[in-house]
């Protein structure tokens, strides 16, 4: 079974985000980068499927040189090799899906796994768009996965608001992983050392025939406004309770 895992590098969730000088993105200096946690679930699932059915796991990542760190970690966790679509350009979800789709077409695949969304922009677009680009079925927000290699079908449990749904689809397909699908492994030291010798193919957007003309562009990025200071009501309990109820009703509008 050949599985592609789409891995995005995102700022560490513990990073304090600052806005860059032109107000359209985050300031990237001094940021610690990690693999998008949902993509880690996807990678872990791919590795488990390979352990069960054999085959190959290829990690695919897009971005500037710093992305090599995420690729190295994917290889250290156990991916067999990687493709790095190297670009400094800021792409929108549609272009990213096209670029990943071009790699997937070149590589061929039985299954594509990725995170249900990236924790940096929370757009949840790439997995779905990729399935459309490739014209294959998609199952998103997967919590549990069974693959039948014989009949080449997957059964996936999807998480819905307050319910779960069982979906069946034929391979090849694109699946997006939800937290809870598995517990990602730590890269062991021998695998960390082996990762350096695993092949990484570098591709450019030109080679893949993908442009950089954006359909959607970020106009402005701002931090959430600071929380206003709390207010303390003073006086007799009878009055303050009445005042509190009034404020909750009229100002906070929670009652």
């Amino acid at each position: 079974m050949k599985i592609l895992v789409m891995v995005k590098q995102v700022p560490d969730t513990a990073t304090r985000i600052r806005i860059n000088s032109d107000g359209t993105g985050i300031a990237t200096d001094g940021i610690k980068w990690i693999i998008n946690p949902y993509d880690e679930f996807a990678l872990e699932e791919a590795l488990r499927l390979r352990e069960k059915f054999g085959g190959e796991v290829v990690a695919v990542a897009l971005g500037p040189s710093r992305v090599e760190e995420a690729i190295r970690q994917s290889l250290a966790m156990g991916a067999d090799r990687a493709v790095h679509i190297k670009t400094e350009a800021e792409l929108d979800a549609s272009l990213v899906a096209e670029a990943l789709g071009a790699v997937a077409r070149e590589e061929g695949f039985d299954l594509i796994l990725t995170g249900k969304q990236a924790v940096d922009d929370d757009a949840a677009q790439v997995g779905a768009r990729l399935a459309v680009v490739l014209g294959v079925p998609q199952v998103t927000v997967v919590l549990k996965l069974e693959v039948d290699a014989e009949s080449r079908r997957v059964r996936a449990e999807r998480e819905l608001e307050g319910a779960s749904e069982m979906v069946e689809a034929p391979l090849p397909a694109v699946l997006t992983a939800q937290r809870g699908l598995n517990e990602p492994r730590y890269p062991t030291l021998p695998n960390i050392m082996k990762a350096k010798r695993k092949p990484v193919t570098v591709k450019t957007l030109e080679e893949l025939g993908v442009g950089t003309v954006l359909q959607a562009r970020v106009m402005a990025l701002t931090l959430p406004s600071e929380r206003p200071a709390g207010r303390i009501l003073e006086g007799e309990p009878e009055e303050t309770v009445r005042e509190l109820v009034r404020l909750l009703h009229e100002e906070a509008k929670v009652l």
Binding site: E69, R72, Q73, A76, Y186, P187, T188, L189, P190, N191, I192, M193, A195, K196
Partner: protein, 384 residues
């Protein structure tokens, strides 16, 4: 990739992995280990499974084939659990009790002790210190006499880390009648043998590590229990102590950096008199000084470790690194407590524990005074 050439991208990834492991599997439970006075043995098996035990041993003996700086990374990162006890116990397992087996042991001894230790199946301890002889290793009195096909061991060892539950001890005992350096030998002693009596010791810090006093009452061990050459025990153990001191220096760097990080974050966030604590020059300069002290000790330790890994074992440099890092970590952790004020002293923060734990750095693996003794001797001052 900080600190080239010591660390490469692989070290960074390993550091990231260990940090995550510590955050997820040690920090949340370490307070409980401290409370009961020991770590659970499962954690060793878990670490073995993840390839964290014996990172710098070759794969043939069950190690991970990493270089010495992988061990440095591990020691630094384990210190970020905010407890010194478990990391020390682990260092005894992988860097103190077992290196002599790898270096001087027979294939059979490696198979019987080293490999199971690196799998986390056997718990190891190191028996040098005696109730009457600590710093003066040459004065060791525990006696092993040849008897029939084996040896008969009589004597006491104390302050033995991992002692209460260890499966075997790498023991230093006297095998000849000549006093002093000559006539000491190493043994590998199974601790379930008749005549081994152990008593658990209580202590101010390092509480997730259990410690014992041993009495060996006519303990009979086979001929093959001898480790290395008979009569060469002093030199064998002096070799062992070099690695022990260096890894303890690395652990001190990790603790100091962690205490500094806590104090620095706290000082930035803490608002007093309408400004943050770092807005006071006294505190900002104190943090600057802490960072400086850490950096100086770090450079010396890394440089020494780099040479050590390449086979240049300088007892003097190692003593310098051990002395400087032990004093530095005590100074830094004490200042970190001061910056947090009352919060530094209560158990809601890890600093009070670290403050108790790091006191051992100036005593264990050779005291500050003994480091100075080594340095002055190597400088030729004592015999001029």
């Amino acid at each position: 990739m900080p600190y080239p050439p010591y660390f490469t991208a692989e070290h960074d990834l390993f550091r990231q992995t260990v940090r995550r492991f510590v955050e997820q599997e040690i920090t949340p439970v370490v307070a409980q280990w401290e409370e009961v006075g020991e770590f659970p043995r499962d954690i060793l098996r878990r670490m073995a499974e993840l390839g964290f035990l014996g990172v710098h041993y070759p794969p043939e003996v069950g190690g991970q084939g990493g270089d010495y700086f992988m061990a440095v990374v591990l020691a630094e990162e384990l210190a970020r659990s905010g407890a010194g006890g478990f990391p020390m116990a682990l260092a005894v397992q992988t860097d103190m009790a077992t290196p002599p087996i790898w270096r001087f042991g027979t294939a059979e001894q490696i198979a019987r002790y080293l490999i199971p230790a690196l799998k986390g199946e056997k718990l190891a301890c190191l028996g040098i210190t005696e109730p009457d002889h600590g710093s003066d290793v040459a004065g060791i009195e525990t006696r092993a006499r040849r008897e029939g096909q084996g040896w008969l061991i009589q004597g006491s060892k104390t302050f033995i880390t991992n002692g209460p539950r260890a499966d075997f001890m790498t023991l230093v005992a006297r095998t000849g009648d000549t006093p002093g350096y000559h006539g000491l030998s190493l043994f590998l002693v199974d601790l379930d043998l008749p005549g081994v009596v152990r008593t658990r010791l209580d202590k101010v810090g390092m509480r997730s590590s259990d410690t014992a006093l041993f009495h060996f009452d006519q303990v009979r061990v086979p001929q093959q229990a001898l480790l290395g050459e008979e009569g060469q025990g002093f030199y064998h153990i002096m070799w062992e102590l070099q690695g022990e001191r260096l890894i303890s220096a690395a652990g001190a760097l990790g603790s100091a950096q962690y205490a500094y990080d806590i104090a620095c974050d706290y000082a930035k966030a803490r608002k007093l008199f309408d400004r943050s604590l770092t807005g006071f020059q006294v505190i900002a300069h104190l943090l600057a000084e802490m960072a400086t002290e850490i950096e100086a000790a770090r450079q010396l330790t890394y440089e020494t470790a780099w040479n050590f890994a390449r086979g240049t074992i300088s007892a003097k440099d190692i003593a310098l690194a051990k002395l400087v890092s032990a004093r530095m970590v005590n100074w830094v952790v004490d200042r970190a407590v001061q910056i947090l004020g009352g919060h530094g002293y209560v158990a809601d923060w890890p600093l009070e524990r670290m403050w108790r734990d790091v006191r051992l750095n100036r005593i264990g693996a050779g005291t500050d005074e003994i480091m100075k003794e080594i340095i002055s001797q190597e400088m030729g001052l004592r015999n001029s």
